[in-house]
C-alpha cells in the first residue's frame, strides 16, 4: 500500500525512467561475452606467477599513494627495529656492574668484572635490601644487615677510601665566598 502511494507520487518520473529499459546494446552483443570472460580467466591462469617485488614495482610506478605507503611501511619497520634493539644494548651496559654472587654467603660481594675495574662498588648494596625485603624481614633487620655490609666494606677497603681529607677539612668550606650582588 505504501509502495503504491510512493509510486503514484512519482508516476511520471517512473514512466520516464522506463525509457532507460529500452537502451540496449546492439543485437548479438552478448553472444561472445561469456567466451571472452572465460578466455581472460584462462589467460590469467596461464600467466607465470610473478614474485612479490615484481608485483610491487608497477604500483610504485603508477601510484604516488602506493609509493608513500611503501615509504611509511619501510620507515615503521626501521623505527620498530631500533626500538627492539635498544633494551638489549642497555642490558649489555649493566653487565659491567658488580653483583652479588649466587653461590657465595649472604651479603658477600661478587668480584667486579675484570674488564671494567673502575666500576663503582656502591650499587652492590642495593640488592641486599631487595633480597631481604622479599624474605619478609623487618626494617630493623634490613638496617642491621646493611650496617654489617658497610662495616665489611669499610674494613676491606683501601686505606683512606672513606676518609678523604676534603670531607673533614672545614677550612675548604670556610674559604668559599660568593660574589656580592651589585
Amino acid at each position: 500500500m505504501k509502495d503504491e502511494q510512493e509510486d503514484m507520487d512519482f508516476e511520471k518520473l517512473r514512466k520516464l525512467l522506463e525509457l532507460k529499459r529500452h537502451e540496449v546494446p546492439p543485437p548479438g552483443y552478448f553472444e561472445d561475452f561469456s567466451a571472452t570472460v572465460i578466455a581472460r580467466i584462462e589467460a590469467e591462469d596461464a600467466r607465470p606467477a610473478t614474485s612479490w617485488w615484481q608485483r610491487l614495482l608497477p604500483g610504485i610506478d603508477t601510484s604516488p599513494v602506493m609509493l608513500g605507503a611503501y615509504g611509511v611501511i619501510a620507515g615503521s619497520l626501521i623505527i620498530a627495529g631500533v626500538q627492539l634493539t635498544r633494551p638489549a644494548a642497555s642490558e649489555d651496559v649493566l653487565q659491567g656492574a658488580p653483583r652479588l654472587s649466587s653461590s657465595g654467603s649472604p651479603g658477600s660481594i661478587a668480584t667486579p668484572d675484570p674488564v671494567s675495574p673502575q666500576a663503582d662498588p656502591a650499587p652492590a648494596i642495593l640488592p641486599v635490601a631487595a633480597r631481604n625485603s622479599d624474605a619478609g624481614t623487618t626494617g630493623s633487620e634490613i638496617l642491621k644487615t646493611l650496617g654489617n655490609e658497610v662495616e665489611h666494606v669499610a674494613r676491606t677497603a683501601p686505606t683512606g677510601l672513606f676518609d678523604p681529607p676534603s670531607i673533614h677539612s672545614t677550612s675548604q668550606v670556610e674559604r668559599v665566598s660568593f660574589p656580592a650582588k651589585q
Binding site: D9, K12, L13, L16, L17, V24, F33, E42
Partner: protein, 215 residues
C-alpha cells in the same frame, strides 16, 4: 507489441518478474553450476555468465551511462567472482552475491572517475516507438514539443549522473531493473527503510532535474 517481443525487451532490461517456481528452479540450477565451477569446470561458469550477464550489464550501464565502462566492469565482475568463489558460502543467493561484487566494483570505479561524466549511450530499441506512454512524454504533454527521444535520453542520463552513487544505484535497481526493496537491501547490505528513504530522495532530485519533461 507481441508477447514474445515484450518478453524479449523486458528480459534484455532485466525487468521480467519470474514466478516463485522459476526463481526456485534458477536457484537450484545456479547451486549445481557453482558446485561444478568449484571443481574446475569452466563450461559451468560459462553457463552461469550467460544466466546473469544481461542483468548485470544493464545495471552497470545505468550506473555509468557509458557502454564501454559497463562492458569492462561486467567482465571484471565475473572474473572477480570466479576468483572469489571459494568465499561464497551460500548464505545469500549467487544472484545477490555477484550483484554485490559488480555494484561494489562499479561504485569504486565511479569514485575514481569522480565527476568526469562521459556519456556513451546505447541506442534505444525499436520497441520504444511502439510504447504510447513514452512517445506521449516527448510529443504531447511536455512543454518542449521539439524534444525527441534521443535528447530526452541524454537529459535523463545526465540527471542520473548528477545523483550520488548510492542514490543512483537504488533508482537503477528499483525503477529501471524492477527489483523489490528487500532484494536491493540484500545487495547493498542495508535495511528496507534505508532503501525507501534513498529512493524517495533520489526521485525528488530527479524530478527537480527533469521538471521540464514532467509537467
Amino acid at each position: 507489441m507481441s508477447g514474445a517481443a515484450q518478453k524479449e525487451t523486458s528480459k534484455a532490461a532485466g525487468v521480467d518478474k519470474p514466478t516463485e517456481q522459476e526463481r526456485a528452479e534458477e536457484r537450484a540450477r545456479t547451486a549445481e553450476l557453482v558446485e561444478r565451477v568449484r571443481k574446475g569446470d569452466l563450461a559451468a561458469y560459462d553457463e552461469l555468465i550467460r544466466i546473469y550477464q544481461e542483468r548485470i550489464y544493464a545495471t552497470l550501464y545505468n550506473m555509468t551511462s557509458n557502454h564501454e565502462d559497463a562492458h569492462d566492469l561486467t567482465q571484471e565482475a565475473f572474473i572477480k567472482a570466479y576468483r572469489s568463489l571459494d568465499s561464497f558460502k551460500g548464505q545469500s543467493s549467487f544472484y545477490t552475491w555477484i550483484y554485490r561484487i559488480a555494484v561494489n566494483r562499479t561504485i569504486n570505479f565511479l569514485k575514481k572517475r569522480n565527476r568526469r561524466i562521459n556519456l556513451s549511450l546505447n541506442d534505444m530499441d525499436s520497441n520504444v516507438e511502439n510504447n504510447p506512454e513514452l512517445v506521449s512524454l516527448v510529443s504531447d504533454k511536455t512543454p518542449r514539443r521539439d524534444a525527441n527521444l534521443t535528447e530526452l535520453q541524454e537529459k535523463l542520463n545526465e540527471a542520473m549522473q548528477r545523483l550520488s552513487e548510492s542514490h543512483r544505484l537504488v533508482v537503477t535497481l528499483h525503477d529501471i531493473q524492477g527489483m523489490s526493496h528487500e532484494e536491493i537491501g540484500k545487495i547493498v547490505k542495508c535495511n528496507t527503510g534505508t532503501v525507501r528513504s534513498r529512493l524517495f530522495y533520489a526521485r525528488q532530485q530527479l524530478q527537480a532535474y527533469l521538471s521540464d519533461y514532467l509537467k
